[in-house]
């Protein structure tokens, strides 16, 4: 029940003449997990990829460059699939044609862009001079005159150098734009003076007409160029629309063909034969054998390798869970894939994770928000990880609603039962803030039960992997200490707190004895070093008290939000009611986010740290069959 899918080890072998056919069959079946061949020796060599692999990769590169021009990411949803047969023969010619079309458009876009840049540069240069009435060509070409056109901070004073000059200035930006004409003999001296005021010369473009006229002309050019650019971009978008299906499909086709062409790199080959080692899910073994047989006329055999016994570490693991449990696999995989002979805790987590989450959040309102959020996100987002987490959130929401009724909380308000808003629903609720001690004990009991389950599962795992004796030493020992300790504490705690003497009873002696037996087993199993682990038993149990503390803090914040909005705003009435509603919305939104994050992480932690460490190691190899999940193409 808690096992991954059963796997069978197979050896696929045949003549090299049939290797290509065998690869096609395996790929189509998408069931064989190939164990890469690595130990080369004199007889067996790693296979060589087919020559087509290089060519295929080159095509893929050029296709992907086109795709990036058309901003096709490869994740788009396409409604109808492209038949593979339509790609195979035409891919070369079509890709070349496509490349030509796309390059034409992109080249024209980049040409227009460079023109736009040119025009903008000229505009930038002429902008300071636009109030000068003199045509541009009159600023250059004098033999006896030096001309300074540019910008500087202040206004220039040069009358002490010469009085023979012509100066036009206009305020520009923080300083001035100037056009200064002086006799050439003063050029150097004047330049020095200007530079003291951060003079920046404007290199004037070679154009005719006044700056103002030119600017008007440039403006018109710019508008024209931008509309051209927009048109080219529309052309590109049209191309994208027209070819997106083809591009996605051929990319997929090329990936598949490359995968097939490179497959021999994972095979062992001799001069004339090839051998593939791998695993097939036992249920798929028969179809694979049948397909291979009919496709190669019995020239390639799929033999079951029964010699395998010891090496369970290498068996690939395909988790085997019913549909409702499958989203939880993401949490297991985040920890580690189970080994082939290890218990897969996904099904247990399907119940336990939402249960722990629900105890912590425990509010009808917040729970309903979780359900709504989970359903909404899982509908909208199909990406595997987030989709699965959203479904888990919805599960957790359901349990939060149930515990919300038990704790009588609706957004922090005691909504039901005695003195609540809905007086017609009366039942004995357990408000968390009034029952701290009782609930603290309940959380510890949950902890003890979960640890017990963990040790029992650990016993099963250890017995499978290392035999019964070892399992008794390392797991039954802990179980004895846990329950012996619990019995002792239950019996001695009341007298200790009330100050009366401790009575020696049969229960107390029995508890102590069980704990001591457990301790002895531990020392026998793990040696003296086992003692170092002892305190973890106590801290693991106490750790479950977070179920209560997280819950109380979340309920406390909700209560605070409600009381604050009432005291500050609702009690005053009028316009203040709007502020009150705002405070309620913001406060509860923040508390919901905190509640989901905290409850989610803490519930996860109680699994990973307290529960899993009792039985689960993980470290398995994930089952990855040789094949491809087609999204955009159909097989011929």
């Amino acid at each position: 029940m808690f096992e991954p899918q059963p796997m069978t080890k197979v050896v696929i072998a045949g003549s090299k003449d049939y290797m290509r056919v065998a690869i096609d069959v395996m790929h189509k079946r998408d069931a064989v997990h190939i164990a890469d061949f690595v130990d080369e020796d004199e007889d067996f060599k790693i296979g060589k990829p087919y020559a087509s692999a290089t060519e295929l990769s080159e095509r893929a590169v050029s296709l992907r460059s086109i795709a990036s021009y058309l901003s096709i990411k490869g994740k788009e949803d396409i409604s109808n699939k492209y038949p593979e047969g339509a790609i195979v023969d035409t891919i070369d010619a079509k890709t070349e044609h496509l490349n030509f079309e796309v390059t034409q458009v992109t080249a024209s876009i980049s040409e227009i862009e460079s023109k736009i840049k040119d025009v903008k540069d000229k505009q930038r240069l002429l902008e300071p001079l636009k109030s000068f009435a003199m045509p541009l060509d009159l600023y250059t070409g004098y033999r006896s005159l030096a001309v300074f056109v540019g910008t500087l901070k202040g206004s220039p004073t040069i009358s002490d150098i010469t009085s023979d000059y012509e100066l036009e200035t206009v305020p520009y930006g923080r300083g001035h734009a100037i056009a200064l004409f002086v006799p050439r003999e003063f050029e150097d001296e004047i330049l020095k003076r200007l530079q003291e005021q951060s003079y920046a010369a404007l290199p004037l473009p070679d154009m005719e007409g006044t700056p103002k006229d030119i600017l008007v002309d440039l403006g018109a050019q710019l508008t024209e160029l931008e509309s051209q650019k927009q048109k080219s971009e529309e052309d590109l978008a049209d191309l994208r629309q027209k070819y997106i299906e083809y591009i996605l499909a051929s990319d997929e086709y090329l990936s598949i063909e490359t995968q097939k062409a490179e497959a021999p790199l994972r095979f062992a080959t001799t001069t004339n034969a090839f051998i593939v080692e791998g695993w097939v899910p036992t249920k798929d073994l028969e179809p694979v054998q049948r397909d291979m047989d009919s496709a190669t006329n019995g020239h390639v055999i799929v033999a079951v390798d029964t010699s395998e016994g010891a090496d369970v570490e290498k068996v690939p693991v395909a988790l085997n869970n019913p549909l409702p449990s499958r989203p939880l696999e993401v949490l297991i995989e985040a920890f580690s894939i189970p080994k082939y002979n290890e218990i897969d805790p996904t099904k247990l987590m399907t119940f336990m994770y939402p249960f722990l989450f629900g105890i912590m959040l425990g509010d009808v309102g917040y729970g309903a928000v979780c359900i709504a959020l989970g359903l909404l996100v899982s509908r909208r987002i199909k990406s595997k990880g987030i989709h699965d987490l959203a479904i888990i959130l919805a599960y957790a929401g359901v349990l939060s609603v149930i515990f919300g009724f038990i704790f009588n909380e609706f957004f922090g308000v005691e909504a039901f039962g005695h003195g609540g808003l809905l007086t017609f629903i009366e039942y004995p609720a357990i408000p968390r803030l009034d029952n701290v001690l009782t609930l603290l004990i309940v959380t510890l009991v949950i902890g003890i039960l979960m640890l017990t389950l963990g040790f029992v599962l650990g016993f099963v795992n250890e017995r499978r992997q290392h035999g019964l004796k070892h399992a008794v030493f390392v797991k039954v020992s802990w179980l004895c200490m846990l329950w012996g300790g619990v019995l002792v504490i239950i019996l001695i705690l009341p007298p200790l707190t009330s100050g009366t003497g401790i009575q020696l009873s049969a229960g107390l002696v029995g508890g102590l004895a069980v704990a001591v037996i457990g301790f002895a087993l531990l020392i026998m199993g793990e040696g003296v070093i086992g003692i170092a682990e002892l305190p973890s038993l106590l801290s693991n149990v106490l750790s479950y008290s977070r179920l209560l503390s997280i819950g109380i803090s979340s309920a406390g914040i909700a209560l605070a939000v409600n009381r604050l909005s009432d005291a500050l705003f609702f009690s005053k009435g009028g316009i203040f009611i709007i502020f009150g509603v705002l405070l309620l919305l913001v406060g509860h939104a923040v508390n919901t986010a905190l509640g989901i994050l905290d409850s989610g992480l803490q519930a996860l932690r109680l699994h990973y740290v307290e529960f899993f460490t009792k039985f689960y190691r993980g470290g398995g190899v994930k089952y990855k069959p040789f094949g491809f999940e087609r999204k955009y193409t159909e097989e011929k």
């Binding site: 920890f335 001690l437 801290s539 750790s543 008290s545 977070r546 740290v609 460490t613």
Partner: protein, 80 residues
Amino acid sequence: MVDPIGAGLVALSAAIAVSATGIAAALGEQVIGSAAIGVMAEDEGFFGRGLVMTVIPESIVIFGLVVALILLFVTLPSIH
């Protein structure tokens, strides 16, 4: 008649129990957390084990919290 000073001291002790252990756990998690994030940058598969190691010091707060709860809900009501 409730002894106000005694009750105040009990409440204060509860606050110290939670806050001191909180700071202690934070100091521990700071170091482990940044190291874990560093490993995750290399290998995303480390998330599960990284989370486990990061939250180990949190047990300290839980102990503090249990002490505080007992102080508030067992010791405090018994002060006359």
